[in-house]
């Protein structure tokens, strides 16, 4: 049984690893930065994407776009998970130590956005105030270096930074000018003088001179023929129409318009897929561990396996699941191109297994010793006592804890976005990056999570009732 499952797993891994025709050019970006990269019509489009398409065409490769967090892009490229990174990445010394930059293809000006009624007309006016930026962006390092008196609030997404400004949590936002134009609303204003001017480049893995040279040539050609300006023009002014505060409009733009429900469906599908896969894997691993430890505690056998099981439980429970996910993806599966959903299932399954192991072990220990003795006294073997008496009684005792673990697991999968999985939470991010409004997408996703949880709770209470018919 164990062997078969292992085999199945390997087949799955290799089936996803092999079987490509045209070579793939994997682009890491963070779609949510119009006009450079953003979701439109269920596709990631933008200036950077147009350029990347040209590159892929000229190299006769198939372009594959991966939407990850901005601060993961460098890691993606560095580890070889992606071939190129493009997300309006400004050239900095620090970044160029990690990856190689292409020639720049766009000049960008970092500007300060404030509220219209704000008295601030220059960054130098801000004394001991708070300014929001996107984590890892040029604005982040610039402000941190140059304006020590300013408290820098680092948001995962610059949309969240804008939201901070709208909510008066900060007095300003510093970011690239062109995307800023795309997303400011009536209550916000961009101060005309740029704080600093920098240049965007694409990034490739350090030392990959061949690819770098080819890309440089292509970018050079695009710049000379004025193609890049064309790209930029075609993507300007795609700003959302939903400036109205009407709830029905907001709902329309969050869910219906542009087929946005599709993101939610795909997110839901991936979330359920990962959760289900991880639950199954977690139960298998957890049961194996608990049985090993139980055999060891009762018979003294399996010393080595018992130690391994203990280490597994300790290490997994002692580290955050997001770290495990990133290690799984960027370290263990570094060289293999594996389906990210599969990586998610593996990582969350291994994580859950450690908790399930402890839950089942506690369940085993909760079984009345007298009934176990009675089983032995009748001449039953350890395996018979365990399978017919200990396990069924333990299962009944642990069902509530197990249900709790699975509910936690479903919600935990939301960190899958860190390695680029489009799961439920990410789908709300995508929608918010287009509507520039968090309220509706987040509320919808919250309700969906709640429904999943309620269904799970109901399922477990039905199971509990079925098992409990034999209980006082």
């Amino acid at each position: 049984m164990k062997k078969k499952l292992l085999l199945l797993l390997f087949v799955l891994v290799f089936a996803t690893a092999c079987g490509k025709k045209k070579e793939k050019l994997v682009l890491a970006t963070e779609a949510g930065f119009a006009p450079y990269e953003y979701y439109y019509n269920n596709e990631i489009v933008g200036v950077d994407i147009d350029i990347a398409k040209e590159i892929a065409d000229k190299l006769d490769m198939e372009l594959v776009i991966k939407d990850v967090y901005f601060d993961s892009i460098i890691t993606e490229v560095k580890t070889g998970k992606s071939d190129i990174g493009a997300a309006g990445i400004s050239y900095t010394e620090e970044r160029s130590r990690e990856v190689d930059f292409t020639i720049d293809y766009m000049e960008s000006r970092q500007v300060l956005i404030v509220k219209k009624n704000s008295k601030i007309n220059s960054i130098d006016k801000i004394k001991n105030g708070k300014i929001a930026v996107q984590l890892g962006s040029v604005a982040d390092s610039y402000l941190t270096e140059e304006y020590k008196n300013i408290t820098v609030i680092r948001e995962k997404k610059f949309l969240a930074a804008i939201q901070d400004l709208k909510d008066d949590k900060v007095v300003g936002v510093v970011m690239d000018e062109i995307p800023a134009r795309e997303l400011i609303t009536d209550e916000l204003v961009i101060l005309p003088d740029p704080l600093v001017t920098d240049h965007y480049g694409m990034v490739v893995k350090k030392g990959n001179r061949a690819l770098l040279n080819k890309i440089n040539m292509i970018i050079e050609e695009l710049k000379e023929t004025g193609k890049i300006d064309e790209f930029l023009l075609s993507h300007l002014g795609v700003k959302e129409e939903s400036s109205s505060n009407n709830l029905i409009d907001k709902f329309y733009y969050s869910v219906i318009f542009d087929g946005r429900y599709k993101y939610i469906f795909e997110g839901l599908r991936n979330t359920l897929l990962i959760a289900l896969g991880a639950v199954i894997l977690g139960i298998i691993l957890g049961t194996i561990c608990a049985v090993i430890r139980n055999i060891h505690d009762n018979t003294g056998k399996l010393k080595l396996l018992n130690i391994l099981a203990k280490i597994y439980v300790t290490v997994i429970r002692g580290t955050p699941s997001i770290l495990q996910l990133m290690i799984m993806y960027y370290v263990i599966f570094k060289a293999l191109s594996v389906n990210i959903v599969l990586v998610g299932i593996l990582s969350f399954g291994i994580n859950s297994g450690a908790y399930v192991a402890e839950i089942i072990r506690a369940g085993f220990n909760s079984v009345d010793k007298g009934q176990i003795e009675a089983g032995y006294a009748l001449g039953l073997h350890y395996s018979q006592v365990t399978s017919k008496i200990v396990f069924p009684i333990a299962l009944r005792n642990i069902l509530p804890a197990l249900g709790n673990e699975f509910i936690t697991l479903v919600k935990e999968t939301s960190v899958g976005a860190y390695i680029g999985i489009l799961e439920l939470t990410k789908s709300s991010d995508i929608i918010a990056s287009r509507t520039y409004d968090y309220f509706f997408p987040l509320s919808i996703i919250a309700i969906i999570y709640l429904i999943i949880t309620l269904v799970l709770t109901k399922l477990f209470s039905i199971m509990e009732r079925r098992l409990n018919h034999a209980r006082n």
Partner: protein, 241 residues
Amino acid sequence: MLEIKNLKKEFGSKKVLKGINLKVEKGDIVGVIGPSGCGKSTMLKCINLLVKPTSGHVIFLGDDLVDNKRFEVIRRKIGMVFQQFNLFENMTVLENITLAPTLLKIMSKKEAENEALALLDKINLKDKANSYPHELSGGQKQRVAIVRTLIMKCDIILFDEPTSALDPEMIGEVTNLMRQIARDGMTMVIVSHEINFIKNFCTKVIFMSDGIILEEGSSDEIFNHPKNPKLINFLSKINNI
């Protein structure tokens, strides 16, 4: 039938049994009495190896159970009845009785069920066959527990304080069943605080104190003519109640 030779048991540094020697013949009803903590229950559990003896021998029908790889097979013929009944809470009365004979392939499921129903009929609990343990009274539970050993066609039954967890009005139904089984020729070893029951029922009584057997004899010898001062003291305390 059963012979215990120099049986010792230590839990860590605590010596619970300090060398027990006992012979039980077929048809014997052996009562074991003694103050709490003297090792009565441990001795009983050492007989069927629920507790592994530190040293000594337990010879049952010619086989030494200690360090015997076949002890699980031999053990089937040694029934045990516990103070807390220990019925499997996840199974019905019928499943409790048929589990071991079917799992160990002694009988087919059908045979085991028929046999179990016949036994339940004898103790007037046939209508409870599909009830769960928690739906039974203490006395009913203990009678089912006894039947669970009978279906194994055991040669001896060990009773570990079979009535001490029962309400007084239920003690009778359990002791009556025990008398009935004894009449059919069953060999028994009974650890109990029910002195009157031991006195009237047992063919042989042993008095244990501090991990050893201090006195052994017929019921009349032990209760009416005790010799060991500790036994005299023990009996006087009981009679004072």
